[in-house]
């Protein structure tokens, strides 16, 4: 792990020589790229390219190899090394993620699922909560109000009291997105946000990704298979294959990159 904590002024996340092995398999191999502040950044690659593994290395679910570096500009504006930090501390830095297979609590109402996103923002002690002291009650009420605002922003305010179990996939995805917004993140990592959505829902998703970026002033990193979505909303894209860096650039640069065309976009018709 390098101790060098320097980043360009406009960068928010910087990966340097990120590698991870699973036994003999090199899932991510010496990957370096950086994301600029307020950017919508796409990470693409065919199945098994190691995209989700990269996510897991950034969020410290996996421990990357020696020499890997993941620098992040935190909420306070300082640059921190994420490698080696406990998983549950990552969100405190201002980095939050969604999951490929929406991970929500079925037995809880939507609003409580969203409130879990505010877990780190609760200041009152366990004792104050157990006795429901005025300070704890006020805090809970404030957080609930904030959660309602986020739900309204996502357009599912009227469902707040419904259980998550039984909600359609599109709604679940919105709940998961709402949950990430509770902590006022600097960077949101979306793991295949369009998977399982129909055309209209995907369109709405693209809209809401823009809105989230603009309203919450955050950067977005997404992994996605839906090329149309990636090409239409991303400012820049990084392509990887078998854990290795291939190319990085704007959507049009990527579309014209012969290596990328061949490896990821297949036939020219689909690459338009």
């Amino acid at each position: 792990m390098s101790n060098d904590l320097t980043m360009e002024q406009d960068e928010i996340l910087r990966l340097d020589h990120l590698s991870i092995n699973f036994g003999g398999l090199k899932a991510v191999d010496d990957l370096s790229f950086s994301i600029k502040d307020k950017e919508i950044f796409g990470l693409i690659g065919p199945n098994g390219a190691g995209k989700t593994t990269v996510f897991n290395c950034i969020t410290q679910f996996y421990r990357p190899n020696e020499g890997s570096s993941v620098l992040f500009r935190t909420k306070s504006g300082e640059v921190e090394q994420l490698v080696g930090q406990p998983v549950h501390n990552i969100i405190r830095k201002g980095l939050v993620r969604t999951f490929q297979n929406v991970e929500l609590i079925e037995e809880l109402p939507i609003i409580d699922n969203v409130l879990i996103g505010a877990h780190i923002d609760f200041k009152s002690s366990g004792l104050a909560q157990a006795l429901r002291l005025p300070s704890a009650r006020r805090e809970e009420a404030e957080m609930r109000e904030k959660a309602m605002e986020v739900l309204e922003f996502m357009g599912i305010k009227e469902l707040a009291g419904e259980l998550v179990g039984g909600q359609p996939y599109g709604v679940r995805k919105k709940v998961e997105m709402a949950r990430t917004l509770m902590c006022e993140p600097k960077l949101i990592i979306l793991d295949e946000p369009a998977a399982g959505l129909n055309d209209i829902e995907t369109q709405q998703l693209a809209e809401s990704i823009y809105q989230v970026r603009d309203k919450y002033n955050c950067t977005i990193l997404l992994v996605e298979h839906d090329m149309r979505l990636v090409m239409s909303i991303c400012d820049r894209i990084c392509a990887i294959s078998f854990g290795k860096y291939l190319a990085c650039g704007t959507p049009s640069e990527m579309q014209n990159d012969p290596k990328v065309q061949e490896a990821y976009l297949g036939e020219k018709e689909t690459a338009q």
Binding site: H88, E103, F122, A141, C183
Partner: protein, 358 residues
């Protein structure tokens, strides 16, 4: 939200008042004296059940060690207030704090184990404790058991069986309120998150170590408190009381009553603990079968898991919903609004889920 919690508190307090009226009914001769002992026992089981519900229901972690910790609480309290002659309150405090330390150790172990393995480890701890009760004669009295007195509050108020029973009711109601607060706040959501998905919980900043320790600490504290109350209510304790079957009965009452339901835990305790004693034993022939209550709760668990996974408490709310739905669908027909047709049903289900959370 605020009015909802006030309503819930009120329902717990009314429930407590009704329970506390039992000795009065006994004195008028409407019900038998033995009921005070049986319902008192039910309350003690419900207290331990509330703790296990936090662990099993909310956090999704298993423990077969409830009995051991109840026993530990019972012996510590009996020793401190009896043999050492120290105040009853101090005995209760230590009877909670010492087992709590054990609970935290198990919580540490739980980070490395899941499901069955965790069950086996907690069972082993419980059995080790039981063996210790057997052997540690100077403190526990060994096989012959240990005597204790009814509590003396603040060194002056000496309680008898009926007033101790009322003390049990007060403690139960306080714990119900406490559990409700914990379960419906940040802590409860963190436990929920841990059960729902460990990865998502961690991504949201929930430290698995911290909340597993908290869950085990709470379950142990409730269990040892229940044990300490037991010894001062029954006034006698044997090592052979704290076997696996007690742990299983408490787990059964949590599952039958309703996971993550506070009233459900008490209903479960009534069904599993009180009903066999009050009703089944009076049935001719069948009532004489040894271990009938185990057969009864075994069959019930199967039925509940098959037909009412939410527990018996859901039976009540779904009956309630049926009435509400009928009412509201009639109302909707009257206004005959197409789009509005969904709202009353949705409202009814929401109320149903709220009810089951209480």
């Amino acid at each position: 939200m605020n009015s909802k919690s006030t309503k819930t508190y009120l329902s717990y307090i009314i429930f407590g008042v009704v329970l506390a009226a039992l000795p009065l009914l006994v004195s008028t001769g409407i019900i038998k004296t033995s009921w005070v002992g049986i319902i008192g026992g039910t309350i003690i089981y419900a207290i331990a059940g509330l703790g296990l519900n936090l662990l099993l229901g909310y956090s999704g972690l298993i423990s077969l060690g409830t009995a051991g910790f109840m026993g530990l609480g019972a012996y510590i309290s009996a020793y401190i207030s009896g043999d050492l002659g120290l105040p009853w309150e101090l005995g209760m405090l230590l009877a909670i704090v010492i087992p709590l330390a054990f609970g935290i150790l198990i919580g540490l172990a739980s980070l490395r184990m899941e499901g069955l393995y965790l069950g086996i480890v907690t069972l082993c701890v419980s059995e080790i404790l039981r063996k210790t009760f057997d052997e540690l004669e100077p403190i526990t009295g060994g096989f012959s058991g240990k005597k204790a007195d009814f509590p003396t509050l603040f060194g002056v108020i000496e309680l008898d069986q009926n007033t101790t029973y009322i003390l049990l009711v007060v403690v139960l109601v306080l714990l119900m309120i406490l559990t409700y607060n914990l379960a419906n706040g940040q802590l409860g959501r963190a436990l929920h998150a841990m059960r729902g998905s460990q990865v998502a919980a961690q991504a949201m900043g929930v430290s698995l170590l911290k909340y597993r320790l908290i869950a085990f600490a709470l379950a142990t504290a409730y269990a040892s408190l229940a044990g300490a109350l037991y010894v001062h209510f029954i006034r006698f304790v044997y090592p052979s009381t704290w076997t696996l079957s007690v742990s299983l009965v408490i787990m059964a009452l949590v599952v039958i009553g309703g996971l993550r339901s506070i009233f459900g835990t008490f209903i479960g305790a009534v069904i599993v603990y009180a009903l066999p004693d009050l009703l089944l034993k009076n049935i001719p022939v069948i009532g004489d079968i040894n271990g009938l209550s185990y057969i009864f709760s075994g069959v019930l668990i199967i039925l509940v898991v098959l037909f009412y996974p939410g527990g018996v408490v859901n039976l009540f709310s779904s009956i309630g919903n049926k009435f509400k739905k009928n009412d509201s669908s009639a109302a909707t027909l009257a206004t005959a609004a197409d789009a509005a047709g969904e709202t009353p049903v949705a409202a009814a289900t929401t109320e149903g889920t709220e009810a089951s959370n209480e």
